[in-house]
Symmetry: C2
């Protein structure tokens, strides 16, 4: 049966954009054409590969300069960064933290590391991120603002924070979220794991909340092998982020004293060396990723019933992972396209399974999640590496 | 005033053993004279720097072969390995875990990550590790063994596990600990962070407990920049260790499903590449570290009132960090020696501050800790790098 949703149409469109390749086209691959090897060689030659060394400092300063935040603290990965953001925000045992159901599992996992409870909220089609309008309606209905903070009247628990995630690099509508958080006494954390190089009204994502998390996993726009960073404009939070991620050790020539429970989350120098080289190339990566997105846009505009997702008017997106949205809300069609493209050597991916559907999160509170559930049936990620241009 | 404890005596003895150096002599420095650069270059050239790649598998297989355990799982660091060992041992909220007060802070921190309670136990002078005789006496006094496990009659809490740490690489007296754990229904975990290359009665440390933690921090015998591993002889525990440290993702060509709360603890491929090259050189490192220990031994045997710590008869130690024990139990003398050596460019270090003295652990249960407190006043670590021979 041939119909408008013949997966061949999508496969042909992708093939027309992508360069011919011998091997399979990955969803997102890193590129190392700068100073990666010399910097890493310097670590090996000098013996400084581990937890202290000049590249960690340099990487943090480069991140501060690029994002415009006051303090960046490099850590082992984005999950660790999120965990510490929650700690720094004062999230405690039994608190609720508002988390989009449409996110990667790390966002919700990090909440549970604090023995807090993820409370799942819906997204909007325009940004793929938290829907501020719907969130405000919901909080007005279920929450009570007391002197000590915001409380969920249904569960009696404190709602301490919200994690706004910039989905596939596309900025969430953050300004109304800042306003809602202020009015409801909720701390705003940004999960900017995917959005290095993405801006909201000219200001870098990750600089709006009290603190935010970046990721430099191998599939991200720039990579350190494994890595992440905490960003903040609050000097005290920044100092504490460094302290708590380096085992909370007090400085001393030889004595080992620690003044609180700390974590071993520091980024090794050899990974930071890779990061320094990658950040030098970030403007070029972004330019090429943008050019790829333009090509997809002009190709898919011709195809009825498939929409190529583009940044909303207030945002400049890094187009980390490009997104197709099928008009037809039918998971069978989505899966036929996934099957067809992957079996033909072009890697594509559906949305992550929504958090509230995973067995370990099923029992947690949630609002109506109909937009995320709709997006789950319609969304497909397509190859997005800078090297494809 | 000149007396037998004149710190000059110790400084002169160290100088007589150590090679003349322009710069300060570190406590432990890595050496990269093998395949480090070619392996790391391969990661960069192929783009495989991150969470999957051949060096992670190869490093794990090399560790298994070297230590003789069935399964090794590479992770981001020793602290992460300890955290997962506790999870795999079934440690839950409110359990007590027996932890030597004489250890690095990570051992006790990891217990708190599980919302469990560190319960501090004493060490013995012969091994610097847990004193099995004293532990048995103590458990006989405070513990009750029921069908569901071992309970602390004083607190009412379950005592789920003990973490036996091989201090500075010197093996703890593990066989009696295995026996005690069996009789008291307590899970034995080994903190082998410092003891790669150390054996107890011919069997590698870290292979005696249900599972154990290694570290490859920059100051360890072999380093991956930052890194660690979980070792176990239990196939199911090994499978679960891999699963839970890789976000508990279920294998699928494109779908993202996770069946439990997981962690992002996997070791990046670029760090594993370093580790593969380092493990190839481990026998050489151990030989030279042993030769250095021999030199220290024959030098300090001449010095009254200072003892050079040597492996007990049942052990073959990696001599990770060499240890001097002052006969005089006087913290002022210890500090004079630390001052004199460090100010003369030879790095030395006292014991870590004992865990029960740190502010965040002060309120936790403990047995009599007089041996550890005695060791704290007498112990000094001295330079131990393989490169010093």
């Amino acid at each position: 049966m041939i119909n408008r949703f013949d997966p061949h149409v999508v496969l042909a469109a992708l093939k027309s954009v992508l360069p011919p390749k011998q091997s399979a086209v990955a969803l997102h691959e890193p590129q190392f054409r700068g100073n990666e090897l010399p910097y890493v060689k310097e670590c090996i030659d000098t013996g400084w590969v581990s937890s202290t060394g000049k590249f960690v400092d340099r990487f943090e300063r480069q991140l501060e300069e690029y994002t415009g935040v006051k303090r960046a603290v490099a850590v082992v990965n984005g999950t660790a960064a999120l965990h510490i953001c929650l700690k720094l925000s004062g999230v405690e045992d039994g608190d609720e933290v508002l988390v989009p159901t449409l996110t990667f599992v790390a966002t919700a996992n990090a909440v549970t590391y604090c023995k807090a409870i993820p409370h799942f909220i819906d997204s909007e089609v325009r940004t793929l991120g938290v829907d501020p309008f719907k969130l405000e309606m919901y909080l007005t209905e279920i929450a009570e603002v007391l002197h000590e903070g915001c409380f969920n009247m249904q569960t009696g628990r404190r709602i301490k924070a919200v994690i706004a995630m910039h989905t596939f690099g596309h900025p969430v509508d953050i300004e109304p979220l800042v306003d809602i958080c202020n009015r409801f006494k909720i701390v705003l954390i940004e999960d900017a794991a995917e959005s290095l190089g993405s801006y909201y009204k000219g200001r870098h994502t990750g600089s709006w909340g009290l603190c935010s998390a970046l990721s430099f996993n191998g599939n991200k726009t720039v990579t350190t092998g494994g890595g992440g960073a905490i960003l903040t404009n609050d000097e005290d939070i920044g100092k504490m982020a460094k302290h708590i991620t380096t085992t909370a050790k007090l400085p001393h020539e030889w004595a080992f004293n620690h003044d609180m429970i700390g974590y071993n989350y520091r980024m090794p120098n050899i990974n930071a060396a890779l990061g320094c080289a990658q950040l030098e190339q970030l403007p070029g990566f972004l330019e090429r990723k943008r050019a790829l997105a333009e090509r997809y846009k002009s190709t898919f505009v011709e195809i009825e019933d498939v929409e190529f997702f583009t940044e909303p008017e207030f945002a400049r997106s890094n187009y980390w992972l490009n997104v197709l949205l099928l008009n037809n809300e039918d998971i069978d069609i989505r899966d036929m396209i996934l099957e067809k493209t992957n079996s033909n050597g072009i890697m594509t991916r559906p949305l992550w399974t929504l958090m509230h559907k995973l067995p370990m999160f099923k029992q947690y509170p949630r609002m109506d999640l109909s937009t995320a559930e709709n997006l789950e049936k319609r969304l497909i990620n397509i190859p997005s590496s800078a090297s494809l241009v």
